[in-house]
Each structure stands twice: as C-alpha cells, then as structure tokens.
C-alpha cells in the first residue's frame, strides 16, 4: 500500500461532476503534480485531500489511516495558496510561529524552529517585516516556511506560482525542488502550466473532466501521450488527421501518401480508416527529402521570433495547420505566403485513438 491512497473519489455539485471517481497512489517523499485545464477537477482533488471538500464517495488513506472524515485542522497537512493567504497583522516571524503556537510548543522550541525555517527559505533578515512589506516571491517563501514549520506529512500547493512573473517563477521552481529535497516531505502540486509540471515533478497526473486520464513521469507523458486531449494539452504537439488504407498499407497525411511506420498498430488505431496523429513541433525540419525522412509541401502563414529560435506556422496540402520550431538563423529563406518544403521522420509521428 502506498503512502497516500485515494480510492474512487467522487464529488458532484448538482449536475456538474467535479471528480468522477479518481484513483491515485502517492509514494512517501514524492513530488507529484496534478495538471489540467481549469475546471478539470485538480483543485477539487487537492481540497479534498486538505479536508475542505467532503467527497460524496470514496476514501483517502494516509499511511494506513483513513483520513476521509477528519477535519482539515486535524490532518496535519501543509497548504500553500496562490494568494499566499498570509496573516497581514502578524510579522513574518509570527506567521511562521502561528502553527507552532496553535500546537502549544515550548517558547524556546518555537523560536528555534522559526529561525531554522526562515533560514531554510532565506528570509532570516526579514523576520520582523509585515507581509505587505514583502515582494510576491518573499511572501511565497513565508507561506512555504509557515506550511512546513510543523513537519507536515504532506505539502499541498494550489497553483502557488501563477501570480509571479516569469523569471521569478523559474527561481521559485528551483526553490521548491530544493525544499522538497531538503525536507523530504511529500509534495502535491496543482498547476495548469505544463512547463512547471515538467520542471519539478517526479510524476504528473493529467486531469480531464474530473478524471485522471494519464499518470506518469514527465518524459513518458511528453513522449507517449495517451489521448488526443493529453497530446494537445501538454504542449508542443501538432494534432493532425490521417487516413489508413488497409489494402495498400499506407497512411495519407500531410497531403502525402506514405507507408505506415512500424509502430503503427493496425488493430489498435484503425477504425473506419480515420486516425489521429501528432507530431512535435521540434521534430519538423525545413528542407527536402533525406534518407529516413518523408517530405511534404506547405504554405507559410506566419513566422514569429521566440528568442531561442523561430516558431513558424504553415498550412499543409490537406489544410492542416502545423507549428514548427527551428533554430534562429535557419529561417532566413522562409517567406510568409510563399511555399516551403518540410520533412519529418515517420517513426516520430505518434498515433492515437480518437477521444
């Protein structure tokens, strides 16, 4: 049995199903991310784990103990919000001391732990400040120190970085990974940002309509999306239509007719001939056919500088729109409105069941 076991959790609000029977097992010390668009149920699951939402059905078991009916204040979990929810009338030190005072720790033990926690998040110089005197990143650190001060069994994070600007977000991602490493606490992190999920998680659970549709390591999810939805949501993928002809064993896609690659499972993917396929943006290159590649003709509809390179939008002969990312400088010959030849390795094209 895993450290945290969530079994068949259901929650509905009238006709709206927020959680449609969610199963999830989390190992002790793991960093797991609940990833999904808004309204997909990821925050509902987090709040159920925290105890603020009572599930209609199912149970939550932590280290062999059923916690489903425990009040939030009895669960001993840490919780960090997007808005930090610091106590504005208390100094940084008193914010971090709050959960320890509630637990009636000795005065000296509180002082020691608060010092240690503030040192851990790098705020020891600002202990006397009020929250409103801190920047967003600093407030976030206070919220983390406060939620970790009493060595909770779980740390639940509800989109804690989405209010920060981009560069600060990356700093805080490293910070969160370091805290996770140094404290050994199990982190459950909710986000709608797939890059954030990739950067930090041991495993990602992808949510769609109140269910987990895929769970796995970031690389596995990126390389083998389980459905059209996942392939689209995790980013960087072009979703296209293709058609399989059993008589010739060929696929028509991208305005071409090509031999079905080896990993194309006829029995699995072939339904009435229509097939969903995906190609990652970085797997499409500009240029004519080479050994191991298939080439196809497109029309350029846009090019955009994105710093590390250029993102080019093209339209294929069968009227699909593709995005490709190429290194800066390689796009000099690309003219918006002009024809262009692209190539792709057929073994890098993924095939999916239609949703």
């Amino acid at each position: 049995m895993a450290f945290l076991d969530i079994r068949r959790l259901r929650k509905s609000y009238g006709a709206a199903v927020a959680l449609g029977g969610v199963d999830l097992s989390v190992e002790e010390g793991e960093f797991i991310t609940l990833l999904g668009p808004s309204g997909s149920g990821k925050t509902t699951l987090l709040m159920s784990i925290a105890g603020f939402i009572k599930p209609d059905e199912g149970g939550i078991v932590l280290a062999g103990t059923d916690v489903t009916d425990l009040e939030p204040e009895d669960r001993n979990f840490g919780l960090v919000f997007q808005g930090y929810a610091l106590f504005p009338h208390l100094s940084v030190r008193d914010n971090v001391a709050f959960p320890l005072k509630v637990r009636k720790w000795e005065k000296r033990a509180i002082a020691e732990r608060v010092e240690a926690m503030l040192a851990l998040v790098g705020l020891d110089q600002l202990a006397a400040r009020k929250p409103r005197e801190l920047s967003g990143g600093q407030q976030q650190r206070v919220a983390l120190a406060r939620a970790l001060a009493y060595s909770p069994r779980l740390l639940l994070l509800d989109e804690p970085l989405s209010a920060l600007d981009r560069s600060l977000r990356e700093t805080m991602q490293r910070e969160l990974k370091r805290l996770h490493r140094e404290t050994g606490v199990t982190f459950i992190f909710v986000t709608h940002d797939q890059e954030e999920a990739y950067a930090m998680s041991d495993r990602i659970a992808v949510f769609q309509n109140g269910r987990i549709v895929q769970i796995g390591a970031p690389r596995d999810i990126y390389r083998n999306p389980a459905s059209r939805f996942v392939a689209g949501f995790i980013g960087g993928n072009n979703l296209i239509r293709a058609r399989f002809s059993p008589e010739t064993g060929t696929l028509s896609l991208l305005g071409r007719e090509i031999a079905a690659p080896q990993h194309f499972d006829v029995a699995l993917h072939h339904r009435d001939g229509d097939v969903s396929a995906w190609i990652r943006s970085e797997d499409i290159a500009i240029g004519g056919a080479e050994a191991g590649f298939e080439s196809f003709d497109v029309t350029v509809i846009d090019r955009a500088f994105i710093g590390t390179g250029e993102r080019i939008a093209v339209r294929t002969g069968d009227d699909e729109e593709l995005a490709l990312v190429i290194p800066d400088g390689a796009a000099d010959a690309v003219v918006v409105g002009a024809p262009l030849q692209c190539r792709v390795r057929p073994d890098l094209i993924g095939f999916l069941l239609p949703d």
């Binding site: 204040e73 840490g78 919000f81 808005g83 106590f87 709050f98 009020k130 801190l134 920047s135 939620a147």
Partner: protein
C-alpha cells in the same frame, strides 16, 4: 497655456470647489456668533459679546447637562451592543457563505430602508405592550437596532479587504474556530470595528424621530431637549450647545489627524521604502 485657458481649466473648477465648501460650512459657522449674543433670543450679538448662554448650559437645573449624560450613556451602550452584534453577524457571514447570511443581512439593514416615522409608530405599540415606553432599556434597544445597519456596513467593508482563504489557511495550520476568531479575524478588523462603533455612537447620539415617540418625562436625551427647547422658546442656549458640539467634533477630528493619522501614515509609507530596498 494661455492665461484665459488657464483661468477656465484651473481657476473655475477651483472657484467651484471653494463655493461648494462654503455652501457646506457657512450655515454651520453661523451658530457661533449667534451663541455669543447678548440678548435672550436667537440673534447676532448687538451691543457686545456674552458667554451667558454657555454658562446656562453648565447649570444643572437647566437640564442640558443631565440630557447630555443621558445621551452619552445610551449612545455608549448602544454603540457597544450594536458593534458586537454587527461584528458577530459580519464575521459569521464572512466564514459561512450561503443563503442565510444574505437573508439575515436584509433583516439587519431594514432600519435603513423603513422610514423612521413608521418604525416609531410600530415601536410605540410594541413598547406599550411590554411596558418599555420611556425606559432606559426601551430606548437603548431601539437605538441598537437603528445603529446595527451602519456598524454592519462598516465592519463588512473592512472584512471585504481580507482574503477569505486566510480562514482556510489557519485551519490547515491546525487552528480551531476560537483561535481563528480571536487571533486571525479580530486583529484584522480593528479599524472596521472602530468605524462601526463611532457610526453607531453617532446614530444613537443624534437620534430624534423614534426617541420622540417612545420617551416622555423620564428619559430626555439631548436631541429631545433641543427639540423641546425649539418648540417652547428660541433660547440662544441652543446655539451655544450647537457650537459646543461643533467644537467637540472639530477637536476629535484634529486629534485623529495629528495622533492617529501621523502614526498610521508612518507605518504605511515604510513598506514602500522597505520594498524598494529588498525586492528580489
């Protein structure tokens, strides 16, 4: 900018602002010379200035002092009770979202909507049945009810600045309801509760409509005595008491300006300096 344009764009609005201020203030300031009149009817001083009417205020037999004491006692009691009820309601509504808080809000705010004269007629009927006419308790209860809406609005306004997830955060940190109430919510409401208490005090202090109906000989609040005094005679003591109240208000505002605002603005301007130095 040409002088003419300057006059139209800056001079005229300025003039309008000063005229508006004068419109608001001059009628109030007129009572001061009238209170210093040397005649014994309402008039401007003619042969000289006199403090006789202020002296009359301080004469216990004239009844002004006892009325002030009555009004002060009722206003203080009403303020404390109304603020307590309003704070309890506002915090409850803040923590428990749902249909009941908004229904209850309509009931609590109804004294603002119902015309006081209609309220007064109803209270006379009710209090005569309970034997509470012309009693301390009867007047205080009515003043509490009339003061609750303003206290609810003041406290509600300061609660709306609080992050409702602070309560969730406190619970996740292990705090139980009494701790959350005393150590998380109340400390953040001091300004709202203060404002609510002052508004409740003022409501009771100058309440006249309902008080006229439900009091008689025993309870004579200050507004009631002023009212009676106007009806009976035009005693310049009226102007004296108005001036005294005006001065008291002015004094309170000045104290607030110099004591509280100065302290407040210091602690408010600090974070800007601090944030500049340390933002990461």
């Amino acid at each position: 900018m040409s002088p003419a344009r300057r006059l139209v764009q800056i001079g005229l609005p300025k003039l309008a602002a000063w005229l508006l201020l004068a419109f608001l203030f001059v009628p109030i300031l007129v009572v001061i010379p009238v209170s210093l009149t040397d005649r014994d009817y309402l008039s401007l001083p003619q042969d000289g200035v006199s403090l006789a009417h202020y002296a009359a205020l301080l004469d216990w037999r004239a009844g002004w002092l006892s009325s002030m004491a009555t009004s002060l006692a009722i206003a203080l009691a009403s303020s404390v009770l109304a603020t307590a009820v309003a704070a309890a309601y506002a915090i409850g509504a803040f923590v428990y979202v749902g249909r009941w808080p908004s229904l209850l809000r309509v009931v609590l705010l109804s004294p603002l909507i119902v015309p006081p004269i209609i309220y007064a007629v109803g209270m006379v009927k009710l209090w005569s049945r309970f034997g509470l006419l012309d009693s301390w308790i009867g007047v205080t209860i009515v003043h509490v009810m009339l003061a609750i809406p303003l206290a609810v609005l003041a406290i509600g306004a300061s609660l709306s600045n609080l992050d409702p997830r602070m309560v969730q955060a406190a619970r996740s940190l292990g705090a139980r309801p009494p701790t959350i109430f005393l150590r998380v919510i109340l400390p953040n409401l001091d300004s709202g509760i203060g404002a609510g208490a002052i508004l409740a005090f003022i409501t009771s202090w100058d309440e006249i409509t309902v008080t006229l109906f439900i009091t008689g000989r025993r309870i004579v609040t200050l507004p009631r005595r002023i009212w009676t005094s106007i009806a009976d005679s035009v005693d310049p003591a009226l102007a004296a008491i108005a001036s005294a109240l005006l001065l008291a208000t002015l004094l309170a505002l000045l104290i607030r300006l110099f004591v509280f605002e100065r302290g407040g603005s210091l602690s408010r301007s600090n974070p800007k300096i601090a944030a500049k130095g340390t933002s990461s």
